[in-house]
């Protein structure tokens, strides 16, 4: 084989392998969705939404778990997003050449990838041990800790995309800096910032590890934030690992529900981000 033919052959081989790698990656995605649909669809009934988690061997639903997940996600987002947005604002608007900002930026990126189970231990020590019992507040705070780095990062990125001339125009009119940020920069970046919040919501809606030691679980309907509260991820964890068929089926139903919700959030967030690039 001539050297040229060999080089061509190597090239085709490697490019073929890279195509195979891409197919390999996508196959898992399809495999997981197919499994979820096949096992979960039969559990998606009206009962799933109106009944509470049953004892083994009887029929039931996930009403308390769905409610718990919604409430804790909502509280976590309401607590975490403003903190993240303000911190991200500092990094983008005040901290371009500030040493503290560089450190915050660095640490925030590490928090972004840090294991979520560690957050669970932290909140356990901080809240559960102090209060003496597991609670939905602790669960929501653990989730908020995960929201913050995501929102900080996207807020900073989105604010940096706002053209400086827009701010300068506002400054030239004598507008004070806080007003420029709130009335001009935020308005220009609002879609991007919303995307960040949606992605954070998507991230925490499936988080299980930080809830295990904080919100724990509750077999009954409870709206008391000071007590343990059922939530979808932990219920899925317990029910899937149980030997009871009814429970396993509910776990699959819950898994399908969470995944669909997260997909919708992700796709909405992406569309929102795209909408912005079209407007430009």
């Amino acid at each position: 084989m001539s050297p040229y033919a060999r080089r061509r052959a190597t090239n085709s081989l490697v490019l073929g392998l890279s195509l195979a790698a891409t197919v390999f990656g996508l196959v898992w995605l399809a495999f997981i969705f197919w499994t979820l649909l096949r096992n979960g669809i039969s559990a998606i009934t009206l009962d799933l939404f109106v009944q509470t988690t049953p004892p083994p061997g009887s029929a039931g639903g996930l009403r308390n778990a769905i409610f718990g997940s919604l409430v804790m996600t909502l509280v976590a987002t309401l607590v975490g997003s403003p903190i993240g947005i303000l911190a991200g604002t500092f990094l983008a608007e005040y901290g371009r050449a500030n040493p503290i900002a560089s450190v915050v930026r660095f640490i925030n990126d590490i928090l972004l990838s840090a294991p979520s189970i560690i957050v669970g231990i932290f909140i356990y020590q901080l809240m559960v041990l102090q209060m003496g019992h597991f609670s939905a507040w602790a669960g929501a705070m653990a989730l908020a800790m995960i929201v913050i780095p995501v929102v900080v990062r996207t807020t900073e990125d989105m604010l940096n995309l706002v053209p400086g001339s827009l701010r300068e125009a506002a400054f030239a009119l004598g507008t004070p800096k806080w007003k420029v940020i709130v009335m001009v920069t935020y308005r220009a970046a609002v879609q991007g910032m919303l995307t960040g919040v949606l992605l954070a919501v998507a991230r925490i809606s499936g988080e299980t590890a930080p809830l295990l030691f904080t919100a724990l679980n509750n077999q009954f309907w409870s709206t008391n934030m000071n007590a343990p509260m059922a939530n979808l991820p932990v219920v899925i964890f317990q029910f899937a690992l149980s030997p009871y068929k009814d429970w396993q089926s509910l776990a699959w139903g819950g898994a399908l529900l969470i995944t669909v919700a997260i997909l919708v959030l992700n796709i909405t967030a992406r569309l929102l981000a795209n909408l912005k690039s079209f407007a430009k």
Partner: protein, 320 residues
């Protein structure tokens, strides 16, 4: 006239106060981010102290884990964490590299975005979904196909044979590692893609101009230019794999033993925490679990810091 001037001055002062307040608030919450990490480390160290004082270095060198006799050694969990992440990297790195090449060099432009998005969706799927899928679908498939194959082929080899010995259980270290390999794909791919895109087109075109093939351009131009960033991306994926909890907890088998076979059940730090934390009775037991968390944090923080430093270095290079 005087009235108006006075009003203006007043409003100026008020605006100035608001400016200071707003800046102060953003500064406060930025520093709050630092406090989170500090708080996490302080609380872990404080919680782990009783166990570390009790066991000393024996905590990380002993493989004894017995809640009844209150003997706690972290070695099996550390071993499981490192080995599962190692397997994940063996799968994740070449596949992510292939996908990144495909997206940046091969893919027609209209397909770039959909494929990139689909690969990123792998990262959006929660860990617990990988876990339930791994336990009920993936593990049985491995048990009936890949594992018997490995036992009958590689298992007979000298030296490495013992790695593939024992019965095909389906669950175990290897299954956990393979699932982690799929889970880290999107993270490594997206960093590799981003750094590959930073290579100046002129560099690539000059290589194509002297007759290089696509692969030769990737191997001799793109990869050397972005080496630091690629390693950074790999470390980022490694950081994810080390701390991954729920998916591993489902399929690892939860055995505090170090066995020679990769198909045997084992445990990882995060799986031990997920399984035992809420059931831990006794201060020493709980403190040992927190100490495990501290070990995990130290390992992942080191890996993630290295990853971040490498990516920063590449950014500075690109800026020059």
């Amino acid at each position: 006239m005087a009235d108006i001037a006075l009003k203006g001055a007043d409003s100026g002062a008020r605006q100035h106060t608001l400016d200071v307040v707003f800046r102060g608030a953003t500064w406060f919450f930025a520093v709050f981010v630092l406090l989170i990490l500090t708080g996490v480390i302080v609380s872990l160290v404080a919680g782990a102290l009783p166990a570390l004082q009790h066991f000393g270095w024996g905590f990380i060198t002993s493989s004894d884990w017995n809640p009844v006799t209150e003997k706690f050694g972290a070695l099996p969990a550390i071993y499981g964490t490192l080995v599962t992440s190692g397997i994940a990297m063996l799968i994740g790195i070449p596949v992510a590299f292939g996908i990144a090449i495909f997206i940046t060099e091969l893919c027609p432009p209209w397909l770039k975005r959909p494929i990139g998005t689909l690969i990123e969706l792998l990262a959006a799927i929660p860990s617990i979904i990988y876990g339930i899928w791994g336990l009920f679908v993936f593990a049985p498939v491995l048990q009936s196909t890949l594992q018997p194959l490995l036992i009958n082929t590689l298992g007979n080899l000298p030296w490495i044979g013992s790695l593939f010995g024992g019965p095909p259980l389906g669950i175990g270290i290897m299954t956990a590692g393979l699932i982690l390999g799929i889970m880290v794909l999107p993270f490594i791919t997206s960093v590799m893609r981003d750094v590959f895109e930073t290579v100046p087109t002129v560099l690539k075109e000059s290589a194509y101009g002297i007759g290089a093939t696509t692969w030769e351009v990737v191997w001799n131009i793109v990869l050397p230019t972005t080496r630091v960033g690629v390693i950074g991306g790999i470390m980022l994926g490694l950081g994810r794999a080390l701390g991954e909890t729920m998916a591993v907890t489902f399929v690892i088998g939860n055995a505090h033993r170090i066995q020679s076979s990769l198909m045997a059940p084992g445990t990882t730090i995060s799986a031990t925490l997920a399984n035992e934390f809420t059931e831990a009775v006794g201060d020493l037991y709980l403190s040992s679990l927190v100490a495990l968390g501290l070990v995990l944090s130290v390992i992942t923080l080191l890996v993630l810091t290295a990853a971040k430093l490498m990516l920063l270095r590449l950014q500075q290079q690109a800026g020059r």
